[in-house]
Chain length 311, copies 2
């Protein structure tokens, strides 16, 4: 049985990461009728919460394991998170990136000192290239969401929010691969049992919503959503936690995601990515749930391509 | 002789405004070789520092004067600032806006409760329309930069920065109409005499730079710069303060402004407007001035049109 203590994970990682700001907006509170607390992981190292889980998983390895490096395949935020985590824990990062990954993300990952290996843009090529690297180097494979140490690490974000704001009625977290949703549930179960966790998911990538309905993991097949961080699917490590602990998943339209994102950019002057905006979109679309409630929103990150904005 | 005490202005306004965050970026510090402190007035009420001066000017009026309202003409941040200031001091705001003002700024100004009067988009029409309103209502005319009470109010931004960061070598402020530059100089003269104030100005709107060279106000004639807040010119109230107290004005190219703006959006996840980015652009372009120095940057605002970005 692996250790599920979010507090212990926090104790391991907190000196290496930013305790990110919690920001409010009286305009958006008036607009929604709720009292919203934006937990700003866009300010986190690497621009997203992902470092929490990657770093925690690295610190949970034995020294001998860690010395051989960390390996992952990713075209997104987890690549940078693993690169920074390796740097912070004095080891190497091997990151497999598909050849169509955005140049800016590749450059950032390289900038943090990772060894980046390019491959064909298929899941099979990614898995095979990573397997070959792990075979050769003995590096430990990190999964961005379906790994208990990663999940518990992601829970430290909600843990920080709970500690500073102990009486939240809800925390809304985006649901993609399920890592931050499951981590948020663990944090609330362990430290704020009266806080309900609600998932926000794009209508056009509703595999987690359907998985809950069907009681088993439904695959995500070519989801088309602007929320690029939420195109992934749940895994066997996080699904039981989500199934057991989530209050509900609210679906949001692409239009609502873009409008919520613009609202935060315009009114709060924060650069947040579309995946993060699903949380506010869910609040705006469901006033009957959130009216007069104190609600934490996990703003998962701020990594966007400025040359390709939806406004 | 009017009261130039920035501390007294701060005492008058501080309970009505946000004490805005000061944010750092280790990435940008590494990139510039300097230690930079971003004073984030993009988080201020109305999305810019302008409320500081408008509110202070309103609070300096007699009760009888104030009861007749505040009047200004503006197509930019000062319109919203006057609208909010009127609301905070329980009076009316009369704002003359040219018919080509961005709809979003007009809507925001109306949203804060101002009475907005449209006019032809010429300076003459703006002045005449405002004069007619003032004649009719007895409202007090507020100038966005060439008014001592406004200037001293704008100085409260640097005052807050100095109080929290007492040992800055430099503060860099954008120079447009000269209000925040002059206010920053007063704040440093009164509370941190070892901190030098540097102005940042677009090469393509370099009237303040030329005014300093010539020892008199040089008009700004159709400046073409993305820094829309800096297309204005100095006035007889702020020019003597600037001439007396500024260390130097550094000119920045349009390309450097856009690059600095993108750097802040990408790395700090902050929405800042082009005028604000001139400060970082000046630091990046002049490493010989700023290397290993502690530098405050006045991030004047974050009001941008998301549908018309330069990226």
């Amino acid at each position: 049985m692996q250790n599920l203590s979010v507090k212990e994970a926090y104790d391991r990682i907190h000196s290496h990461i930013h305790q990110t700001a919690v920001i409010t907006s009286s305009f958006i509170n008036d607009h929604t009728g709720a009292s919203l607390f934006f937990k700003c992981e866009n300010f986190q190292k690497g621009g997203s919460y992902k470092i929490r889980g990657a770093l925690h998983a690295s610190l949970c390895l034995t020294e001998n394991q860690r010395s051989k490096g960390l390996g992952t395949h990713s075209s997104g935020n987890f690549a940078q998170a693993v690169a920074i985590s390796a740097k912070l824990t004095n080891t190497k990062a091997y990151v497999v990136m598909p050849s169509n990954a955005p140049a800016v993300k590749r450059a950032a990952t390289l900038g943090y000192g990772a060894i980046v290996e390019e491959c064909e843009p298929t899941l099979q090529a990614r898995e095979e290239t990573l397997a070959e690297i792990i075979e050769r180097t003995g590096a430990s494979k990190l999964h961005p969401s379906n790994d208990i140490d990663v999940i518990v690490g992601q829970g430290t974000c909600a843990y920080e929010l709970i500690v500073t704001h102990p009486d939240l009625d809800y925390i809304v977290a985006p649901v993609g691969g399920g890592g931050v949703a499951a981590g948020t549930i663990l944090a609330c179960q362990q430290h704020s049992p009266n806080t309900k966790v609600i998932g926000a998911e794009p209508e056009q990538a509703d595999d987690a919503y359907r998985s809950l309905k069907e009681g088993q993991i439904v695959p995500s097949v070519n989801p088309i959503t602007i929320a690029d961080g939420l195109r992934t699917q749940l895994g066997h490590h996080n699904f039981p936690i989500i199934k057991d602990g989530i209050d509900q998943i609210l679906l949001v339209s692409e239009k609502a995601i873009i409008e919520a994102m613009a609202l935060v950019w315009n009114r709060m002057k924060l650069v947040i990515e579309p995946s993060s905006a699903t949380t506010l979109a869910a609040v705006i679309a469901n006033p009957e749930v959130f009216k007069e409630k104190k609600v934490g929103l996990i703003i998962t990150g701020g990594n966007v391509d400025l040359s390709n904005l939806p406004f």
